[in-house]
Amino acid sequence: MVTEDSDTENKYKRSDAAETGSGSRSPVGRRRFLQAAGAGAAVGLAGCSGGGGGDGGPVTLGAAYILSGFASLYGEEAERGIDFAVSEINDNGGIDGRDVEVIVRDTEASADTAIQQIRSLVQEDNVDGLFGLDSSGVAQAVAPQISQLQIPFMITHAATPFVTSPQGEHEDSVGNEYVFRDSNSLAQDIYGAARVAQELDATEWATIGPDYAFGYETWDYFQAYCDGLGVEAEFTAEQFPALATSDYRPFISSILDADPDAVLTPLWGADLTTFIGQAESAGWFDQIDHTLFSVGMGTDLPSDGSPLPEGEYASTRYDPFVPDTETNNSFRDAYYEEYESLPTYNAEGAYRAVHLYKEAIESAGGTDASALVDEFTGMEHSGPVGDYRFSETNQATVASIWGTVTYDDEWESNVLDPVNRYEAGPDVLSEALGDSDLPTGI
């Protein structure tokens, strides 16, 4: 169980365990990891019968991610996490003795395409459950459809709080009993950004974010949290360039002209990589004291050449080194062994979604959709990200994780060090949002 302790800010240095353990980092290797995981998974005790299972055929799950376009690296990372989970589960007796297979489809970052793909997965491939989604805009459009299809959907990345805010709570809320999220939401993530802002010697803040709901919501929540937490902040400039902008220079100039102390940016995917290159050549990081990248690590790790500048702040939804648990360390090491890069949060979120289905199906004794929804509702679970449960609104009570971008020679990668975890449960968020009418989504 996660203890919700909003006043406790746990400052972790990357644990020595990780460093000594990896000073002699004996790569665990995928096989050994799978065997170890298998030993813990008591397989073959399929005491329950009924539900959709029992026919010995595979359990089929459908996943929808961005596999093409400006943010295709997110889908590629999710596929890695899925492959990892599928091999791990199938090499260890499957789900109640049945193999699991996952059909991954491309949303192309488009709501219409995502809806078509999801309908096809349900109606043509007869999947037993769904997971995925990278874009908030897409998730917002998909959630009501999921309710119509009456099949569980585990969102693993798209962050808008409105998909886990019950319909009617706010004009944009589309949360319903079928939609869950196993990763942290924008409301949780940006709470952490405001906590970082509390610590910084910066009063004038600006933003540059994508020109759609996600960019605006990030800025709205940040302002509301700063207000609620009593952060001394003025919000002086904002720029919202269109997705897939090829030249950010005009927008960069506009922010530089306003000369803020700090900037919060939710740019992501190839847009973030493009922006960072152009910002560097414009002298951005010399002029602006602090830049907070709210989607930083998801883009940084899979991209060539680690774009995030050292010393700036970034958030992640999963940290490969924290918590320093056997589950996380062995997942990270085995993943690194397999792919020669640290697992991103998108890989971990997708990996965990497959495991969540395994646990729910085994507990329900089958794949009946309403039984799975009942299982997920309020479920307590543990994975590389740590221990968490699903709140009343189907949002995982995971921490908000922010840290300082630091290059790690040993892993040949940017990491967050030091890294802070801010517990971001329902009470903490609603208190921090103060008088704002924005929903906590948890």
Partner: protein, 297 residues
């Protein structure tokens, strides 16, 4: 669309950035305008040509020879060859059709899709960027604002292309053939001009210009499969504002749109993408033929 509470500060760098954005737009729009002016073909695939120029340049630099200028020339010429091949194999067959306008539109749009998918197939859907050539890769600070020196090179080259094209069209034998043929195709053919070959030549030239635009822009933009679609819309706005078939109009229109793209974010925080469209609407209402439309060149 929300308005920034700040008084916009227009610095020299904003002007330089605007002119460099305008320069790349000019290189694509002038080819589009030339092809339309002479062949009467509105080439939707022109944005794809621009994108292809950027990709070929990147590919040459990373796989063949690490020399930016050679890569630019190869990129521009490769696109010219692709353009000429498209004209020769597909568009040429449509000139004499009754509904040739619609057919040309559909065929060139087909090539938009083909180029887009080919790029995705060959280079994937990620985004690439390169540094400007070393000799120009330094920051210039003027009047308190900073920009990369390479942007000045792009502006200079665009002006150079404008002058060279003008001389070529007005001072050379080939230029007089182009002008004559665009005025009266039948008469030119009767006087012995090899019109089909001339058309392929003009299409080659227009494509080279688009490829050159893409190649020169590779260091100041992200190259991704979305690029072609982005620039073709801007290029159409440029030729509508400047006047179809007018080289000077393409230059003025491109610089206007470039400046709007650069200065727009200084005034509004979102939706600056709509400013060129608004400008086009205003021009169409006040001067439907465009600012330089109807002025023979």
């Amino acid at each position: 669309m929300s308005f920034t509470p700040l008084v916009p500060l227009i610095g020299i760098s904003d002007v330089v950035i605007g002119l460099s954005l305008g320069s790349r737009l000019f290189l694509i729009a002038v080819g589009l305008s030339l092809i339309f002016g002479v062949l009467g073909v509105l080439n939707f695939a022109h944005g794809g040509f621009y994108m292809l120029g950027a990709y070929v340049t990147l590919a040459v630099i990373s796989n063949v020879v690490d020399n930016f200028w050679i890569a630019v020339v190869v990129g521009a010429l490769a696109v010219g060859v692709v353009g000429a091949a498209i004209e020769f194999s597909a568009i040429r067959r449509l000139y004499d059709r009754v509904d040739s306008d619609l057919d040309q539109l559909i065929v060139t749009f087909g090539f938009v899709l083909v180029i887009h998918e080919a790029v995705r197939f060959i280079w994937g859907s990620g985004s690439y960027s390169i540094d400007p050539p070393d000799v120009f890769n330094f920051s210039v600070t003027l009047g308190g604002s900073t920009f990369n020196a390479y942007r000045l090179v792009v502006i200079g080259l665009a002006v150079g292309v404008l002058v060279a094209l003008w001389l070529f069209i007005t001072r050379t034998y080939f230029g007089s053939l182009v002008r004559g043929t665009s005025s009266d195709r039948e008469m030119a053919a009767m006087l012995g001009v090899d019109v089909p070959r001339l058309y392929t030549g003009v299409f080659f030239l227009g494509s080279v210009l688009a490829g050159l635009g893409g190649a020169l822009s590779a260091p100041i933009q992200a190259t991704s499969p979305a690029l072609g679609d982005q620039v073709i819309i801007d290029a159409f706005i440029v030729v509508v504002i400047g006047g179809l078939g007018s080289m000077g109009g393409a230059f003025v229109g491109a610089m206007l749109i470039g400046m709007m793209q650069s200065l727009g974010p200084q005034f509004i925080s979102a939706g600056s993408i709509a400013i060129p469209f608004l400008a086009m609407v205003v021009v169409l209402l006040l001067r439907p033929e465009g600012l330089f439309g109807g002025i023979g060149e």
